[in-house]
């Protein structure tokens, strides 16, 4: 009889001890605390900046840069703005990263498979490659390629010439450049469309093979699309092609297309270093496929190449892709070591020269971090989609 009011009183006093209420309160407090800390940081930064009368904001982007950059994928001169310098640096970072990822993947797969080879010499060579490369610091390897290999090449006057067309010296590799006349754009457009169509054809053919069980021969059609289409376009429009040949004039070669040693050193170092890690990931992936799978496939009468392509690799990829993503992200972030050899990447051009000339450290470092974050998120997003596609589908 006295029970009910007591229980009610306890309930009234105890609402604060209910798990849901309590956890809500704790979470609100935590968020408030983090928010306050953020607000405090923001306010003190603002006051400190105001006290020192530092210039802030993003107006510097539209100021003439006044410096030049040694490798630019888009035209750039001293008259261009810092915004364009930012773009040049970003493109250089993306360029070396993209090529690095492709090269590292190719080398990594070859070495990883090679290490499992029955051939004693090949497997030991691949093993030695992995153990040496991945155990030496990357910065050291970049400096090695740059100082000990590439800048040790002869001076331009004593270039190593290959058929008098390609010149290799300590300023890089100079090759002749094809210059397309009017209508050149159509040819490149046709090539792009050709490649796209070839993919569509392969996809359709695959679907048909799956549906009917009959293999289709598509490579002649694809060859025609990829090579024939741009060629036809080229002949139809009568596009003129001239060759811009490099000529030694005074100190350096003029004309042609030059690949600077900073780029080469960074690309080689990044690709070989990351490849050593990828090789181990690939080896682990292949070894993770149970032996019974290979034996079962062989028992079905599949050739060895088909066993690999249809049975082993798809299952191995499930193990390979997630750690592979981390390696790609590492490669992209490691590309910022470019600073040490003067390759004009985002960190060197933007977080280096631009930061120093404008002095706006907070804005520039913020943007640089944001850019690396965005690149990394896009890569891991794309890799996650790919991973979902190849993941085991349970029906």
């Amino acid at each position: 009889m006295t029970d009910v009011p007591v229980r009610r009183a306890r309930a009234r006093a105890g609402w604060i001890f209910r798990p849901r209420v309590r956890s809500a309160i704790i979470q609100i407090l935590l968020v408030a605390l983090i928010g306050l800390a953020g607000w405090y940081i923001f306010q003190t930064t603002r006051q400190n900046i105001a006290a020192q009368r530092l210039v802030t904001g993003f107006d510097f982007f539209w100021v003439e840069s006044g410096f030049s950059i040694s490798q630019t994928l888009i035209p750039f001169s001293e008259n261009n703005t810092y915004a364009r310098a930012f773009l040049v640096g970003l493109l250089n970072t993306l360029f070396v990263s993209a090529l690095g990822v492709v090269l590292a993947t190719v080398i990594g797969f070859l070495v990883g498979i090679g290490r499992l080879s029955q051939n004693w010499i090949i497997s030991r060579l691949c093993g030695a490659y992995v153990e040496i490369i991945r155990n030496l610091p990357l910065l050291f390897q970049i400096l090695f390629w740059y100082l000990a290999v590439l800048t040790a090449l002869p001076v331009p006057r004593q270039s190593i010439s290959i058929f008098d067309e390609i010149f290799v010296n300590n300023r890089g590799i100079t090759v002749p450049k094809f210059v397309f006349g009017e209508g050149g754009g159509f040819v490149f457009g046709a090539a792009a469309i050709g490649i796209l169509l070839a993919f569509v054809v392969s996809w359709l053919a695959r679907r048909r093979t799956v549906a009917t069980g009959k293999p289709l021969r598509v490579w002649p059609l694809n060859l025609a699309l990829v090579v024939g289409l741009p060629l036809a376009c080229f002949l139809y429009f009568g596009v003129s092609v001239s060759i811009d040949q490099p000529v030694l004039k005074g100190f350096n070669f003029v004309g042609g297309l030059r690949i600077i040693p900073e780029f080469l050193a960074l690309l080689i170092a990044l690709a070989t270093y990351t490849a050593a890690f990828i090789a181990e990931i690939v080896r682990a992936g292949i070894l993770a496929v149970p032996r019974g799978q290979t034996e079962a496939a062989s028992a079905l009468g599949l050739r060895r190449s088909k066993v690999l392509r249809l049975v082993v690799v798809p299952q191995a990829l499930r193990v390979i892709v997630p750690p592979l993503t981390s390696q790609y992200l590492n490669l992209i972030k490691n590309s910022s070591l470019a600073v040490s050899i003067g390759y004009p990447d985002l960190v060197s051009v933007f977080a280096g020269t631009t930061l120093n000339n404008t002095g706006q450290a907070i804005e520039i470092l913020g943007i640089t971090m944001l850019v690396y974050l965005c690149i990394s998120l896009v890569i891991s997003f794309a890799m996650n989609i790919y991973n979902r596609r190849i993941a085991l589908k349970e029906r």
């Binding site: 004039k249 050899i341 004009p344």
Partner: protein, 337 residues
């Protein structure tokens, strides 16, 4: 990433440092030493010797401030900084004064939130090439590759000079002075460019210094001086007047050798400078014998010049513009009174 990871805490310390802008002099006294940002290794300006002691004109200037404040020139901590990191380090209170062959320009003086306290060395930018290249003028440098340090006025002057003379060039940009001279020596570049004083110093690092020559063209004005933060006038005054006092001391023939004798001088300007008359040191927040301390421990302007970059050094650079105004140069200091 190495650079970024260094710059990040710098930027963050702007965010976290308390709002109160306490006087730098009080901070320095409480700490018991001055934090001085210098170059990592530039002969004549700031370089550790074989015993690990810092030497150079920029180093001696910081020692002079320590002598004025503490009567002890060793109460300085030297922080080697790259050209790229130096301003951020000063802005974020990592150092009290930047004495690192830094060119005085309007934007650095204003938008970076800094104050230049004077000119320790009047410099100019020049070019170094190999003698074998058979070049006698900078105007023949069209189509060359130039090695240059990032984040310097040098990099921008280079652009201006080649652009205004319609010459093509390729700039290879490195972070540290060491990387620049290494790349030049390896043959990556035809031309090495920086301030002339620095070319003299860097040339000593080459395996055959005599195979290289400095071209006659000087393409810019590079007044190098010590830098402090905006917002602390007392500290700005101290740094400024230590420099002025050293120049005045040379003018009045007050040196490490003559100081005891000059203390007995009857000349009123010498008496004011050495604190025998007036309380000019106390007005700065120091003691009245501040100049005596500076001269006794470090020397006057002429002495630190000769010892580090001039006649008595390995560099043997002429005084040139850096002579006193009374001897045909442009070094001139306002009077102490």
């Amino acid at each position: 990433m190495k650079r970024l990871s260094f710059l990040f805490p710098l930027a963050m310390s702007v965010a976290f440092a308390g709002v109160a802008q306490a006087g730098t002099l009080d901070d320095v006294k409480a700490r018991g030493s001055i934090l001085c940002g210098v170059s990592g290794g530039l002969a004549g300006f700031s370089q550790p010797d074989d015993k690990g002691n810092w030497t150079g004109i920029d180093v001696d200037f910081c020692r002079a401030i320590a002598a004025a404040v503490f009567n002890d020139p060793t109460k300085v901590k030297f922080l080697p900084l790259t050209a790229k990191d130096r301003f951020t380090a000063l802005q974020s209170r990592e150092i009290d004064v930047l004495s690192r062959n830094t060119t005085w320009t309007s934007s650095r003086d204003t938008s970076l939130g800094l104050n230049f306290a004077g000119v320790v060395y009047y410099d100019a930018q020049g070019f170094m090439v190999r003698k074998a290249a058979k070049v006698s003028s900078a105007l023949e440098l069209s189509n060359t590759t130039v090695c240059v340090q990032s984040g310097t006025t040098t990099q921008l002057n280079l652009g201006d000079y080649f652009r205004s003379n319609n010459m093509k060039y390729e700039a290879v940009v490195f972070n540290t002075a060491d990387e620049v001279i290494k790349a030049y020596e390896s043959g990556r570049c035809d031309v090495f460019t920086t301030d002339v004083s620095q070319i003299y110093a860097e040339r000593l690092k080459l395996s055959k210094p005599d195979d290289h020559m400095i071209l006659p063209e000087l393409i810019s004005k590079e007044p190098l001086g010590p830098v402090v933060r905006h917002g602390d006038d007392q500290w700005f005054d101290i740094v400024k007047w230590v420099l002025f006092a050293m120049i005045n001391a040379e003018e009045y023939d007050v040196s490490q050798k003559t100081i005891d004798q000059r203390l007995k001088s009857d000349r009123p300007d010498v008496k004011r400078l050495l604190g025998i008359e007036g309380n000019y040191g106390e007005q700065l927040g120091l003691t009245n014998d501040w100049v005596v301390r500076v001269i006794r421990h470090v020397g006057n302007y002429g002495e630190i010049f000769d010892r580090n970059v001039g006649a008595n050094s390995r560099l043997k650079i002429e005084r040139g513009l850096n002579k006193l105004w009374s001897k045909g140069g442009i070094q001139y200091a306002p009077p102490v009174r």
